[in-house]
Symmetry: C2
């Protein structure tokens, strides 16, 4: 008898977020769920880990096939805690991270706590899917994210020949589900954020700065890019790697740096 699948769910907007509930809903369609998310919002935490403080775990609830925990750390801490303390990575069939409130397309993959957790899970050779909805609102409508998240997860389970490590960065446009034109496999858009720092005074007269910014798309017309897909009504799926080596530069550097 085939055992029931076991899905790890994590997140960077905290265990209280609507997106976390949406990810659990996707996961629940495929098996039993262990869900562990940060105690507090961790957006922009990238692949940060907690080195200098202790971590507190809380069991939030247990219901039919779903156990939910919070951890006082980062998204990557949650994945490490689940896979090195709670569970055996060999027992986990898939990790879902998200659903993030806001885009993780383009270079955001590197700042994102959601994608940090998905990349971490891929290190354990577990297929990992990061889901993000292009809507920052706390009460955003996750219907399309649940629908397309389910499609992607279904496809991952159906095709056992997909490469490993497998880490997918899935972004869903802010559109009613019936207006979404389908799924496109993309590459990360070239371009970077440029920031602006608002300067203000605190009540004691000390200056502070608040970062804001805008993404500069270097290739708005590139149909293979995730930004193009999203702005044209598609769900974007970018396969993410875990080897940061710029292999094509190695030979050139061997001549230059001795």
């Amino acid at each position: 008898m085939k055992r029931e699948r076991l899905i790890l769910v994590t997140n960077d907007d905290s265990y209280t977020s609507k997106g976390f509930a949406a990810a659990i809903e996707v996961a629940r369609r495929f098996g039993k769920v262990i869900a562990i998310a940060p105690e507090r919002p961790q957006s922009g935490m990238s692949q940060a880990i907690t080195l200098f403080s202790p971590l507190f775990l809380n069991k939030i609830r247990e219901e039919e096939g779903v156990q939910v925990y919070s951890l006082s750390g980062t998204p990557v801490d949650c994945v490490k805690f689940a896979l090195d303390h709670f569970l055996d990575p060999k027992d986990i069939d898939l990790t879902i991270s998200g659903v993030n409130h806001g885009s993780n397309s383009a270079v955001n993959v590197l700042y994102s706590g959601t994608m940090g957790a998905a990349i971490e899970s891929a290190f354990y050779n577990i297929p990992s899917v990061g889901l993000s909805l292009l809507d920052h609102a706390a009460d955003a409508d996750f219907e399309a994210a649940i629908e397309y998240g389910t499609r992607v997860v279904q496809a991952v389970f159906e095709d056992e020949s997909l490469p490993r490590p497998l880490c997918l960065n899935v972004n869903i446009p802010k559109l009613p589900v019936e207006q979404i034109r389908g799924i496109r496999i993309c590459r990360q858009t070239r371009g970077y954020w440029r920031e602006e720092f608002f300067k203000r005074e605190d009540p004691t007269g000390r200056n502070y700065y608040w970062m804001t910014g805008a993404f500069n798309n270097h290739e708005p017309e590139a149909e293979q890019s995730d930004e193009w897909a999203l702005s044209n009504g598609y769900v974007s799926v970018v396969p993410v790697q875990t080897d940061m080596t710029a292999h094509e530069q190695i030979e050139c550097l061997k001549g230059a740096i001795k």
Copy 2:
């Protein structure tokens, strides 16, 4: 008349660390220096950014050719603040991040605040060098790091044909400078950390966990890997990329996820 070079220096161990002083010493050999580092240690902060709190800036000191600042944020915040608020990226000839107290070889490149800052700087098309010494001690001996950091920076300035974006992850073994066998251009070692969580009780009887772990090297004999270079007495230099796309998986996924 050729203008004097301008070097940005940052760090993840805070502006008070000995490694930050060592990086400034390297940079000072090549031009004027703007140094901006986090107010507090930020090890393991990866490419995290501060979204939900204000940033405070302090001018620490100004001396011949060197200005030193602290910022109450992450290493990436420091780079963004320097390049989007303080300075014009076009005026910066190079960024040095480090010298980190501890290794950033192998997959540590993804957890490292030092390398997070170097990757961020490379986004601005500035050649970026992350320097890390395999010694966590606060009073570590940075002589070899300064010597080899200087050699790498010299090579980057001498060869204008080096590719862009250029981001180098340079690790220096914990050895007297005369015992180091030279520089090797490497790739990121395959392998990941496995963690252990120590469980203790706080004074109120509440359990907490403290993460520790060990790196599992999947290819200890691979002479092209940075771990091999370091354990054989070489300085390792790995070129780091900023595109996280697993390009080779795209065609396969197009067939599987629709």
